[in-house]
C-alpha cells in the first residue's frame, strides 16, 4: 500500500466520567442497581417494541417497553414486588437499545431484572435453571470437549444422547452442536511463537509499509470462546490481518465475555469472568494497547454490559478502548483504500449473503462489512436485511424457544435464499449457526475474507 500516512489522527479520549451525578455506590452489590431513574427518559413511543424480534413471534413476551421502563417504574424496591417471569423470554438481542430515541438503558434494565429474577425467584433445582447454567457456561463445556475434540464432536451430536438432552435438560435436539477444532486458537498461537512472533511479523510489515518500525501499534486480542475452540481460522485471520497492517498482537488471559450469562440472568457467573477479563485487559490498556474482538457479542459485552452492570476497577477504560476488529482498522487505517485495490480469488471468491448480528447493529457496525466489501474485486456481498437471526446465543438452543427462534429467523432465511450468493457471512458465531441451520450455507467471517484479500 502506498499510503504513507503513518500517524492516525484518531485519539481515544478519556471515558465520559464527567458531570453526571453518580447515585449508587452504597448498594451492597451491584445486582441491586436501582434503575427506576432510567425510566425518566422514556416518553412511551414504543419504538423499542417495534424493534423487538421476540415480541413479534411470542405474545407471552410483553416487549421491551414493559420489561424496561414500565416495569422499573411500577416496581418498588420492597420484596413484594416480583419481576414478571416473562423477562426470561427476552433473548438479549439488545435491539431495543438501538431503537430508543430517548436513551433509556433498556438492555441494562432487562439484564438487571433478569439477574434479579434468577437470583430471587427462580428455583435453583429446576431443570430450566440447570439447563440455562450449562448453556451459559459454554466455555466450561468447550474447554473439556476441546481436550478430546474428535470424541466430543461425535458424542455431542449422537442421536440418543441428544434425545436424552432434550427430554431431561430441554436442549433442543433440532440443532447440531458446533464442531470443536482439532487445534484451538491458543494452541496455534503458542506454537507459532506467541507475542514475540507477532512483534517481529508486525515490524516486518511496518518496514514494508514504510512506517517507523518502532511505532506503537499494538492490540490485545479478545478472541472469545468460539474463535478459540470452534473457529480458530477466524482468530488466525485476525492475527494475520493485523500484522499485515503492522500491529503487534497479544492474546491475553481471558474467560468468557459473559454474553450467554447475561442472557440467562447468571450475573454472578458473568461477574467472575468479567473480573478476569477486565483485569488482564486493563493492564494492557494502561500500557497503550487497544482491545480488539472478532466476535461482536464479545466486544458488546466489554464495551456496554460490563460498565452498565459491574463496578470493577478499570472497567471504564477497557470499555472505551475496546473495538471490533474491522471497526478498529476502519478508524485507524485506510481500510477502504486497501480493499479497493485488492482482489480475491480462490476459495473465497464468492458472493456472500451477509447478515449483521444484532450486537453489531448496536455498536453501529451493521453496515461496515457491506460498505467495505462492496468495492472488493472477485467477491460480492449482499445485505440480507435488518431482521434478527433469531438464535440470540443460547435462546435458540432451548427446547421451548426453538420454534420461536426459527420463526424469528424466517425472514433472514428467505432473504438469504433470495440473495445471489450461496455462502453466508457474519461476525457472530451463534448467528452463523442459525444461518447454517436455516439455509445449509457455509458461513464465513469478514476477517477471513479480509485475510484472503489483503494477506498474500
Amino acid at each position: 500500500m502506498s499510503d504513507a500516512e503513518e500517524s492516525p489522527t484518531f485519539e481515544p479520549v478519556a471515558p465520559n466520567t464527567g458531570d453526571e451525578f453518580e447515585p449508587v455506590d452504597v448498594f451492597p452489590d451491584s445486582d441491586d442497581f436501582d434503575l427506576r431513574p432510567g425510566a425518566d427518559s422514556c416518553y412511551k413511543c414504543a419504538a423499542c417494541d417495534t424493534n423487538c424480534p421476540v415480541a413479534e413471534v411470542d405474545d407471552d413476551f410483553p416487549g421491551p417497553k414493559f420489561q424496561g421502563p414500565e416495569q422499573w417504574r411500577l416496581k418498588q424496591t420492597d420484596d413484594d414486588y416480583t419481576v414478571d417471569d416473562s423477562i426470561m423470554s427476552c433473548s438479549n438481542c439488545m435491539r431495543c437499545d438501538d431503537a430508543c430515541p430517548s436513551g433509556v438503558p433498556l438492555s441494562q434494565m432487562h439484564n438487571t431484572a433478569r439477574g434479579e429474577y434468577v437470583s430471587e425467584q427462580m428455583d435453583k433445582l429446576s431443570v430450566e435453571y440447570v439447563r440455562n447454567r450449562i448453556l451459559a457456561n459454554y466455555r466450561t463445556s468447550a474447554f473439556f470437549a476441546s481436550k478430546v475434540p474428535r470424541l466430543a464432536n461425535v458424542a455431542m451430536n449422537f442421536g440418543p444422547a441428544r434425545w436424552l438432552m432434550e427430554k431431561t435438560l430441554g436442549v433442543t435436539s433440532e440443532r447440531d452442536f458446533p464442531e470443536f477444532a482439532r487445534e484451538t486458537f491458543r494452541e496455534w498461537w503458542a506454537a507459532r511463537g506467541g507475542a514475540d512472533a507477532s512483534r517481529s511479523n508486525a515490524r516486518e510489515s511496518r518496514q514494508r509499509r514504510g512506517e517507523p518500525t518502532d511505532s506503537e501499534k499494538k492490540v490485545a486480542y479478545f478472541h472469545g470462546c468460539y474463535s478459540n475452540y470452534n473457529t480458530p481460522e477466524v482468530g488466525k485471520a485476525m492475527v494475520r490481518v493485523y500484522e499485515h497492517f503492522g500491529y503487534e498482537v497479544v492474546a491475553p488471559e481471558q474467560r468468557c465475555s459473559g454474553t450467554p450469562m447475561f442472557a440467562n440472568g447468571m450475573l454472578a457467573d458473568a461477574r467472575r469472568h468479567a473480573a478476569v477479563n477486565v483485569s488482564s485487559m486493563s493492564d494492557l490498556v494502561e500500557q497503550g494497547y487497544d482491545a480488539v474482538a472478532s466476535c461482536t457479542s464479545c466486544s458488546m459485552a466489554l464495551r456496554q454490559e460490563y460498565p452498565e452492570l459491574f463496578d470493577i476497577d478499570g472497567i471504564e477504560a477497557v470499555a472505551a478502548n475496546t473495538f471490533e476488529a474491522l471497526e478498529y482498522l476502519r478508524i485507524n487505517e485506510d481500510l477502504t483504500g486497501a480493499v479497493r485495490e485488492a482482489e480475491v480469488s480462490g476459495d473465497l471468491a464468492e458472493e456472500f449473503a451477509y447478515h449483521a448480528p444484532c450486537h453489531a447493529r448496536n455498536q453501529g457496525l451493521d453496515r461496515q462489512a457491506v460498505e467495505l466489501f462492496r468495492d472488493l474485486d472477485g467477491a460480492g456481498i449482499e445485505d440480507v436485511g435488518e431482521s434478527c437471526s433469531g438464535i440470540s446465543g443460547t435462546y435458540g438452543w432451548k427446547e421451548e424457544k426453538y420454534e420461536k427462534s426459527m420463526a424469528i429467523g424466517e425472514e433472514m432465511f428467505e432473504h438469504m435464499a433470495h440473495a445471489q450468493g450461496e455462502v453466508g457471512m457474519t461476525e457472530c458465531p451463534t448467528c452463523a449457526m442459525q444461518m447454517e441451520h436455516g439455509s445449509g450455507y457455509e458461513i464465513r467471517h469478514p476477517l477471513e475474507l479480509l485475510e484472503a484479500a489483503l494477506v498474500e
Binding site: T9, F10, P15, C45, A47, I331, D366
Partner: protein, 423 residues
C-alpha cells in the same frame, strides 16, 4: 482521514433520508449517520404538506396555494414552492405513496375519529379517503385500546362525512394475549399463520375475513387498525379484500406505527440504492472547525470517533427527536450548538391552553436562504452546514399539519445544495 465523504448527513429521519438520497442522486459521495430510530415510528405514516394556515384556517384544499401566503421565515418560503414540488416528486418516486395525482389535499380518517388534511398517503390507507362516498365499515380489535371502531364511526358521522359509516369490534382470531404488540399481529398476517378457531386450525387471513364477513351490511370498504402486515402489507390487504369482496384499508395510528415503519424502510431502501453509505447507533456529539466544520465526532462507549466531509446536513429532529434539547434555563441544539431563539423565561415557552399558540412548537434553528443555520447576529454559523426538518424553527408543524412536508422539502433542498457545493 479514514472515514470521509463529500456530504455527511447527521440524522436518519424523513429529512435526513431525503437529504442523503437527493445528494447521492446529485452524484455526491454521501454518508448518513443516525443515532437512534427516527420519529417516523411515532408518526401516522401520512405525509402532510399544509393542512391549516398558522392562523388555524382550514382544512386547506390546496396546500401549494396556501404556502405562498405564509410568513417569510417559514421553511416553505425559504425553499420556495417549486422546490417543494420537486421534493414531493422525488418522494413519490421512491415510496410509491399516493395522492400525487392532484395538488388537492385528501382528508383521511384518524384513529381518533376525526379526519385530517394530508397530501400523500400510503397505498394501505388509500381506500379510506373521506371524500370518497362509498359506505364504510370500521373494524376494531377488542384488545386494541388505541382504536375503538364504533367510536370512530360515530365521530366521523358527526363530522358530516359523505357516506354511511359503522363500527364493529371483533376479537382477532387466534389466542393472542391482550397486550400483544402491533408487530405480533402484523407478523401473524404476514406469514398467514395458522390460528385455532373453534378447535380448527385456519390461516389467519381467512379467519379474519370470515369473522368480518357476517358483519358486512353492503359496505364497499372496510378499515382496520394499522396492523395489516409489515413485510407483506400489500399481500395481506389484497388477500383480505379478495375474501371479503371489498376494498380494505388501514386507519393510521401511532405510536408505535407500522405505516411509519414501512415508510422508514422504503426510504432506507432508496438510500441504499442511491449508493449512499449509512451507519446507525451512535450520536454525533462534537465537531472541529471554525467557520467551517472540518470533522464531527461520533461517540461510542466513551470514545470519540472522527468522521469528516466537505459538506454537512443537520437533520437531527426537533424536541421529540432530540435534535433540540432544553433545561430549566435554555433551549439548545446539541450537535453543533447552533443558535436557537427562545424566550428567556421558560413560562413563555407555552400557552396556557392545551392547543394554544405554543412557542415550544416552533423551537429550532433559523436559516438563510440556502438553509444554513444562523447565529444570534444573523450570520451563518458555518459555511458548510445546512439544516433540514424538525431541527428547523419558525413553524408549528403540529397545528399546521406540515411536519412531513417541511422535512421532505428542506431535506431535499439541503441535500441538493450540499451536493452542488462539492461538485
Amino acid at each position: 482521514m479514514a472515514i470521509e465523504s463529500d456530504v455527511l448527513v447527521v440524522g436518519g429521519g424523513l429529512a435526513g433520508l431525503t437529504s442523503a438520497i437527493t445528494a447521492a442522486r446529485e452524484g455526491a459521495d454521501v454518508r448518513l449517520v443516525s443515532y437512534k430510530q427516527s420519529t417516523l415510528r411515532h408518526a401516522s405514516g401520512l405525509v402532510d404538506l399544509l393542512g391549516y394556515t398558522p392562523d388555524g384556517e382550514g382544512p386547506l384544499t390546496d396546500p401549494y396555494e396556501a404556502m405562498a401566503a405564509l410568513h417569510d421565515d417559514h421553511p416553505y418560503r425559504t425553499v420556495g414552492v417549486e422546490t417543494v414540488r420537486e421534493a414531493m416528486a422525488l418522494f413519490d418516486e421512491v415510496t410509491g405513496y399516493q395522492g400525487g395525482h392532484t395538488d388537492t389535499n385528501a382528508l383521511l380518517p384518524t384513529h381518533g375519529g376525526t379526519v385530517k388534511p394530508t397530501a400523500r398517503y400510503p397505498p394501505g390507507a388509500a381506500a379510506g379517503v373521506a371524500s370518497d362516498d362509498r359506505d364504510m365499515l370500521l373494524v376494531g380489535l377488542e384488545s386494541m385500546t388505541d382504536f375503538d371502531a364504533p367510536h370512530a364511526a360515530a365521530h366521523l358521522d358527526a363530522a358530516g362525512v359523505p357516506f354511511a359509516v359503522r363500527g364493529v369490534t371483533i376479537q382477532f382470531p387466534g389466542d393472542l394475549r391482550a397486550d400483544a404488540k402491533v408487530t405480533r399481529y402484523a407478523k401473524q398476517l404476514d406469514t398467514n399463520a395458522e390460528v385455532a378457531v373453534r378447535g380448527r386450525n385456519r390461516p389467519v387471513r381467512d379467519a379474519l375475513a370470515e369473522r368480518v364477513n357476517p358483519l358486512l351490511e353492503g359496505e364497499e370498504r372496510v378499515g382496520f387498525p394499522a396492523v395489516l402486515g409489515d413485510d407483506r402489507a400489500d399481500a395481506v390487504r389484497a388477500a383480505l379484500a379478495e375474501k371479503m369482496g371489498v376494498d380494505v384499508f388501514e386507519v393510521p395510528s401511532g405510536p408505535p406505527s407500522l405505516p411509519g415503519l414501512r415508510l422508514e424502510d422504503a426510504l432506507f431502501e432508496a438510500l441504499d440504492e442511491s449508493g449512499a453509505r449509512f451507519e446507525t447507533g451512535n450520536p454525533v456529539v462534537d465537531y472541529e472547525g471554525d467557520g467551517a466544520i472540518e470533522r464531527v465526532f461520533v461517540e461510542k462507549y466513551g470514545t470519540k470517533i472522527p468522521i469528516s466531509a466537505a459538506q454537512y446536513v443537520l437533520a437531527t429532529g426537533g424536541l421529540v427527536g432530540k435534535g433540540i434539547e432544553s433545561d430549566r434555563e435554555a433551549v439548545r441544539e446539541p450537535a453543533f450548538d447552533c443558535h436557537v431563539p427562545h424566550p428567556a423565561d421558560r413560562y413563555e415557552w407555552f400557552d396556557v391552553d392545551v392547543f394554544g399558540d405554543h412557542a415550544f412548537a416552533a423551537f429550532g434553528v433559523v436559516t438563510d436562504a440556502t438553509l444554513r443555520p444562523l447565529d444570534g447576529s444573523g450570520a451563518p454559523e458555518f459555511d458548510n452546514l445546512r439544516a433540514a426538518g424538525g431541527v428547523l424553527g419558525g413553524y408549528d408543524y403540529a397545528a399546521e399539519k406540515s411536519g412531513a412536508g417541511v422535512s421532505i422539502a428542506t431535506g431535499y433542498a439541503a441535500g441538493r445544495n450540499a451536493a452542488r457545493e462539492v461538485r
